[in-house]
Symmetry: C2
Subunit: 591 residues, 2 copies
């Protein structure tokens, strides 16, 4: 194998073009096998393979510096920078993260997993070089899908005015995760159709020098283009036309499906029939389809990640004009939805917890300050074993401290459905709902709560001495803790389902003082700035003891969930241990 | 006066062009007099006067809908939509806000005060119209300075693909608050120089129809241009070249100074000599100038608001290449600074508290996750009587709950200087410093604290029974409360200067349990998600009573500061009252 001779970028420079082509094929095979075994980003890595070989052939990393946007496409780079055993040796498949990681290699500058950041970061890298009087090229790689994000656009505007070397490779595979949306993409199309010669050129309009490579999976062509811009003394864009999933028929045929795959996807010969299993996702889709059918004002908005919500092609087609995918553009998504709501439409913005933080100012100013009655559905919110770049444990602390927003945490199917209806029909507030995670819970009894009565917690079971507030996903855990305390201490604890994240039920909490000495709060997110602290503050001047359970403020990185639960004392046993200790302090319970 | 005949937009339609020109002059005089009396945005309102007259002449508000970006330029619009007495009658100068406000008029759609939002909002307005099968034009007005913000760029990309009527008026006065920065502005210049005919056209590249009006202060020309696009069935940009401060010589001569002025600015004949008075601003500037002079790695970054920090033209010139104003582009500013720090430069990003929320994701992912040792200086943080759009009380809750960031609250000059040095010289963490507000406090004794020992609070005065934690700006209030408690109760309270916002000193707090029964926290920001709640959580399982004082989570709107302090119990008397009440509960103090 050629790859046997290649450990670091320098080894590449000894190869002929033919050898590099063989090398690319070898790498492709490794990536396909590895990703199909572990799951991961398939299409983006296959599409950028030849370009990565050409970049490392032409430039001299780490003196020349690469910044990969979102780093969904860094596997070939990892193979060529000392980490190939993470792809050749199945035992080591999990050694390296799926994203660039400075702790792994000096060839990775940043830990990256959110989109649209590479150009801004590269501008900083280039400016640091200039300040220190150093030399070298700075190369940002960015996909066409990521270009629509505000940070990328701000970065392009500024990078163009940098006045020194910065090379931006626009990896145009004609796709975001799903299809692209926005006027910019018509310009990319025009540029592709004219082999880069069209007069109307978004990049040139910003002030960049510009070149185009039609055969973006042709190493020889790419090398020519990169050599032409190497050591450029001014900002330049190289627009390369690549094929997402290149070299893997299934991935080319179904680019969206193969953007990121689960283990074994290639081994399933046909798409299984659409699952009829009920889930929070299916309820949401049913709700939307029903509204869209009966109400012309209904509209569903998302920012470039329809797959997260199960919005497949058929769903998108059915919803038609009442579906807007704004592309990677969460800021626009919130402002746009806010205006829709203000003008009498009924927008439902769906977003993954990790990405809601891309639009704080718009939530605060465009939405909350204007009290726009839109609905935000926050998916995947909760503690997880995810990569540090995709944690979903910050949304409650983020949304929960903005005035005017009603943020709800349903604990089961019936509550979720009732909250959806409430939010859709009301006109008083922006409402966010944390779509439950994990196993489907159903009470079998319709929820008739009037959620317009804000901050009313549900007293599920009245007990004594100890009250357990189990928020959303953790209501189930609260029930387990109640059982555990019963069996350990013989105490019938009170069980409360708060349902509101953004406010506390002062009357209910006040009443607890009569016959309770310990209040326990459980929340599926970080404690800092979260729900429990508000309860602690409320009881600050009283004798009530309060124990807050939730995640620590940290960027945990691929830590297994059960380990995190132990770390944060989020098991019925550990919580009960802490409650027992606390009861000893709460003297009035001693008897 | 012509204005006597004009109360609402319809009245305008009866006027001849000559009458409209006279009307514009009358309005100009009123605006100059009013703004010079009350303070406010002068240049932007004078620049857009003629365009506003023309817009209301051509379009039919509120059937046709206007969205004003940042709404720094809405005074002429207010005059023409039923609110002229706010300009003709000095008694009513304060009746209307300086921003668009739906509660004032149906001609204002949104409450707006942050930049770069109008295109996204207008896209939502237009889509709502289309969903409901309604008619009418939707017009977004946006200044050239606001174009560089991510939300505006995301909005433009999406608006271009809307497929129906949306008219974007680009008000190009060749200025942001200060000068513009970024490649986009070279394109605007080229378009101006070619009377809109240049082939390279940023807006056309995005897919907009485009027209240009060189005489953007000529009502007749503007009417022609607006009539040409009225009822357009597709997205269109009208690029108008206006003069900031038009018709007021002083404002034209010094556009930056007259962007927003203090009362009476026109009456001061000459710029007073540069003030030599010491202030936190002057310390910061001295610090930066010193670093820049001695260290080529030093660089100061801001996002389009140099005036907030006192970075005047002379300062900018002196700092030279070590100064980057990224324009309205906070996301880029943080990512860029983060990369600078990661690559060995020493970036200092200065930002107003109200705008730090425009870049949460970049603080979290680009900066905190990468532990980039950059310095962020947060200005104006604190409770204020500001307009609801410019509150500065959310930054601690926002920054304070992101992992890895060290957020510091100095209580005096010496601490501030020591923290600046610490932050500049360290390489371990992103450090944010909340630049103190209000009167300068100096101890006269250099602060030699080693701030790399994180989360160590300073025990200023050891007392008993009650401990008062006065954070940053509120350390002064803590001292007052201590005196008040001494005189009321004869108790020598313990006085603590926490200095760290992002973590608590567990050892010190633990020790307080020995001889204290009440802990009081004071913070100059919202309580929700803030500093005090972390202290409450810490003491949750103990007998310690905790009282958190700070602002309520709300969008207060031009409420006088002393009224807010009363509302939030932020006076020594009200705090002492609450402490007294609490002492009665804390039985162990009874004696």
């Amino acid at each position: 194998m050629i790859l046997d001779k290649v450990n670091m970028p320098n080894d590449l420079k000894q190869l002929s073009l033919d050898e590099m082509n063989v090398l690319a094929d070898e790498m492709r095979e490794l990536i396909i096998k590895k990703v199909n075994t572990t799951g991961g980003h398939m299409g983006p890595n296959l599409g950028i393979l030849e370009a990565t070989v050409a970049l490392h052939y032409v430039f001299n990393s780490p003196v020349d510096k690469f910044v990969f946007d979102v780093s969904h496409q860094c596997y070939p780079h990892k193979i060529l920078t000392g980490r190939k055993e993470g792809f050749t040796d199945p035992e080591k498949y999990h050694v390296y993260t799926g994203y660039t990681a400075p702790e792994e290699s000096e060839h990775d500058l940043f830990k990256i997993g959110h989109t649209s950041t590479s150009v801004s970061l590269a501008a900083g890298v280039a400016k640091a070089r200039d300040l220190k009087g150093e030399k070298g090229n700075v190369i940002a790689l960015i996909g066409d899908g990521s270009l629509s994000g505000g940070e990328a656009l701000e970065g392009l505007d500024n990078a163009a005015a940098l006045g020194s070397n910065i090379i931006i490779i626009v990896n145009d595979n004609e796709m975001s995760i799903a299809e692209n949306h926005g006027g910019l993409y018509d310009n990319l199309k025009l540029l592709r159709e004219t082999n880069g010669d069209a007069e109307l050129n978004f990049f040139k309009a910003l002030g960049f020098d510009y070149s185009y490579v039609e055969e973006g999976n042709n190493i020889g062509e790419l090398i020519k283009a990169f050599e032409a811009v190497k050591d450029s003394i001014k900002p330049v864009v190289v627009h390369i036309h690549t094929e997402k999933g290149h070299g893997l028929e299934a991935a080319v045929a179904n680019k969206e499906k193969f953007h990121w795959i689960l283990p074994g996807t290639l081994d399933v010969k046909e798409d299984s029939a659409v699952s009829a299993v009920e889930s929070y996702d299916s309820f949401t889709k049913d709700f939307i389809l029903n509204k869209v059918k009966t109400d012309c004002r209904a509209i569903v908005v998302n920012a470039g990640t329809p797959g997260v919500f199960g919005f497949d092609k058929e769903f998108r087609k059915t919803v038609g004009k009442q579906y807007t995918d704004v592309g990677i553009a969460e800021e626009h998504a919130v402002a746009y939805s806010s205006a829709l709501a203000k003008c009498g439409a009924k927008p439902i913005f769906t977003v993954m917890s990790s990405f809601i933080q891309r639009t704080y100012d718009q939530m605060s100013q465009d939405m909350a300050l204007n009290n726009s009655p839109m609905t935000m559905l926050v998916y995947w919110g909760g503690i997880s074993g995810a990569d540090a770049t995709h944690l979903c444990s910050f949304d409650m602390s983020l949304i929960g401290n903005i005035p005017n927003i009603v943020y709800l945490a349903p604990a089961n199917k019936e509550e979720y459905l009732a909250m959806l209806e409430y939010s859709y029909n009301q006109n008083a507030h922006p409402v966010a709902i944390r779509v439950p995670m994990g196993e489907l819970v159903s009470t079998g009894v319709a929820d008739n709560t009037d959620y317009s009565m804000l901050n009313k917690f549900k007293l599920e079971e009245k007990g004594e001495k100890i009250a357990i507030l189990g928020l959303g996903n953790f209501f189930k855990l609260a029930k387990e803790v109640k059982s555990e305390l019963k069996s350990r201490l013989g105490i019938d604890a009170t069980l409360i389902n708060p349902r509101f994240i953004t406010g506390i039920d002062e009357e209910l909490l006040e009443n607890l003082k009569q016959d309770h000495s310990v209040v326990v709060t459980l929340e599926d997110g970080i404690l800092d700035g979260g729900f429990g602290e508000k309860v602690s503050r409320f009881y600050g001047n009283s004798d009530m003891k309060v124990l807050n359970f939730g995640a620590k403020k940290e960027f945990s990185d691929r830590v297994p969930l059960d380990e995190l639960y132990r770390r944060y004392h989020l098991t019925k046993e550990l919580i009960s241990d802490d409650v027992e200790k606390c009861l000893k302090v709460a003297c009035c319970v001693h008897n």
